[in-house]
């Protein structure tokens, strides 16, 4: 009882110090932390029925309280059932892929790592194809989620020797697992009819156009809990990023933390890939952009990757749904938009100071 109380008091102290830590940061950091709010308002306003911040608040308020504000029903439907879930899903996906990428880059001590390095995306693609073409009774999201976990899990087990999982073996195992699931996917694609093939290819591009409240509900718990875990453990990524031997010599239980970080980063990314398909480059580019502006300290990098990632993807999705007369899969735009931004940042910061 007393120890529980003591721990709670300590936690409070820790919270206060974290807040203190935040207030010391520059206004740019605060801006990046709060970026999802303006991004949300802008995105809610994009589309055929513009909705101002005030109207949005009214609609949500009336939904919550059950009043009727006398707004046209179409507003209510568009805002609440179509636009809001899409915007929220975009934010969840952006936050999840970015925080997952930032975490794995820290563990692998390699800035070129993305959440998909351990075979997650190939596993998910195979699982989704299986659900589309072979086992139609299986929900697509479940198939993608299960097989992405299976892929990463088998890469992890393949790399494991005598209780240790060297990162170099992990990367190699990831490559092997990706190729195997790629080959299995090819078998399905080869065997199925044209309509299924089209669905498979479309799923692989990554899209948010099928967003719904049920998808938000599916992904949100994983993403929120995962982000919370990664944010509380984030300083330890600094210790890990200095090297494995260096981490062990300061008393870090290396394999335990590596396991926790890899599992959490994988669950978070798998949950969003399952509902939105494979949206490329977000998990690679957003952590890079944040690191180039705010430095590599994971105490800042991890939370900002989540908020900047959420804002980035929701804004890119605004482009995807409104820039052309037809809707472009958002994964294509993240890649086409991300690549030049990435190259530009790489050049102006001289590769961000990496050796």
């Amino acid at each position: 009882m007393y120890t529980g109380l003591g721990r709670w008091v300590k936690l409070q102290g820790g919270l206060r110090q974290s807040l203190h830590f935040l207030t010391k940061r520059s206004s740019l950091t605060i801006f990046a932390l709060l970026l999802p709010l303006p991004a949300l308002l802008i995105s809610m306003n994009m589309g055929t029925y513009p909705v101002s911040g005030l109207e949005l608040a009214e609609i949500i308020f009336s939904r919550l309280m059950g009043h009727d504000l006398g707004l046209p029903a179409v507003y209510d439907t568009v805002v609440f059932n179509i636009r809001l879930p899409r915007v929220l899903l975009a934010m969840l996906v952006g936050a999840a892929l970015s925080i997952s990428g930032a975490t794995l880059q820290g563990i692998f001590r390699n800035p070129l790592v993305s959440p998909f390095v351990l075979g997650l995306s190939s596993g998910a693609a195979f699982g989704a194809a299986l659900a589309i073409a072979v086992f139609p009774w299986m929900p697509l999201q479940i198939g993608a989620f299960a097989f992405s976990l299976l892929a990463v899990g088998s890469a992890y087990l393949m790399a494991r020797r005598k209780g240790e999982v060297p990162v170099i073996s992990l990367v190699l195992a990831g490559v092997v697992v990706s190729s195997v699931f790629g080959a299995l996917l090819a078998i399905i694609q080869f065997a199925v009819d044209a309509r299924s093939l089209q669905s498979i290819v479309y799923w692989n591009m990554g899209t948010l156009s099928t967003a719904s409240w049920s998808k938000v509900d599916m992904a949100a718990p994983w993403v929120l809990v995962g982000c919370l875990i990664l944010i509380t453990l984030r300083w330890r990524l600094n210790v890990l990023a200095l090297g494995e031997e260096e981490a062990r010599s300061v008393g870090m239980n290396l394999e335990v933390y590596k396991f926790v970080f890899i599992v959490t980063a994988t669950l978070v990314a798998s949950a969003v890939v399952a509902v939105a398909g494979i949206i490329g480059l977000v998990g690679l580019i957003v952590p890079h952009m944040v690191r180039m502006v705010f430095g590599p300290d994971h105490r800042i990098l991890i939370p900002l990757s989540a908020t900047v990632g959420a804002s980035f993807l929701v804004l890119v999705d605004d482009v995807a749904r409104s820039a052309f007369s037809f809707e472009v899969p958002v994964g294509i735009i993240t890649t086409l938009l991300g690549a030049p931004v990435f190259i530009y940042l790489l050049r102006v910061t001289r590769a961000g100071g990496w050796e």
Binding site: R109, W235, A241, L242, G251
Partner: protein, 264 residues
């Protein structure tokens, strides 16, 4: 067990695959002393240091720190006692020097927590102890090899260790910085009472800066032991022992009352 004993190595043997590197090494190291491990490249100096830090498990034998088997100490407990400075360290991200040094506070920071005020204070102390407070905000990737060495020493000192292990702390330094760094290490040992065990490749540095020297040779297959001698520097660093370790003929010269080795 002797109360003044800081580290004891008991009949440690180690092989990588089938090639045996260390054979039944036993050492007793006094608290607060500066001990150097000297020997030719590949004789197992780094291996021995890592075994002492429990980074490697020996095939046989045990290591005790202040009376406790290092294998039985939880990792964070060991890290409060022993700091380790690796040879020539590099990192992939441009962390600030201060952020690197503060990772030495790891053994004091509970899970789910980050460094607190005390950890930040200890970090600043460690930075000033090694004379690099002015570098605290520089990126680690943009300082010289010698400065990185100091950063890693500061990081180890932030652990508040009673034993400091250093692997060839002079290997990437110029003539002046070699001397300055070795002086600083011995000064830290004197002022804080820290036991220092370091590997060195220059036998003269060992003669000049250590209380005791451990001289190793390469274990080429059939030799029984690879520790040639261990003890006071002048007694260990004799021409015969140097010949046995390096196969190099040397003469002892006396410079203003100090003995130095001179290759012939």
């Amino acid at each position: 067990m002797n109360a003044a004993e800081g580290i004891r190595v008991e009949e440690v043997s180690m092989a990588y695959g089938s090639s045996r590197i260390l054979n039944e090494i036993s050492l007793s190291i006094r608290k607060g002393s500066v001990v150097t491990i000297v020997g030719p490249n590949g004789c197992g100096k780094t291996t021995l240091l890592k075994i002492i830090n429990n980074l490697l498990k020996p095939d046989q034998g045990r290591v005790f720190v202040e009376g406790t088997d290092v294998n039985l100490l939880p990792a964070h407990r060991l890290a409060r006692i022993m700091g380790y400075v690796p040879q020539g360290h590099k990192i992939s991200f441009p962390f600030k020097v201060r952020d690197v040094v503060i990772t030495g506070r790891m053994p004091y920071i509970p899970a789910f927590s980050s460094p607190k005020r005390e950890d930040m204070e200890r970090t600043e102390q460690a930075l000033s102890l090694t004379g690099i407070s002015g570098l605290a905000d520089h990126p680690y990737s943009q300082i010289s090899g010698g400065e990185r060495q100091l950063v890693m020493i500061a990081r180890a000192m932030a652990q508040q260790p009673s034993v400091l292990l250093l692997d060839e702390p002079t290997s990437y330094l110029d003539f002046k910085n070699q001397i300055l760094t070795l002086k600083m290490i011995t000064e830290i040992s004197r002022s804080k009472g820290v036991t220092v065990i370091m590997t060195l490749h220059d036998p003269n540095h060992a003669l000049m800066f250590s209380d005791e020297v451990v001289l190793l040779r390469k274990l080429n297959g059939n030799r029984v032991g690879n520790m040639i001698a261990c003890g006071l520097p002048q007694e260990v660093m004799t021409p015969q022992n140097i010949m046995a370790a390096y196969g190099v003929e040397v003469e002892i010269v006396d410079v203003k009352g100090r003995k130095l080795l001179m290759p012939l």
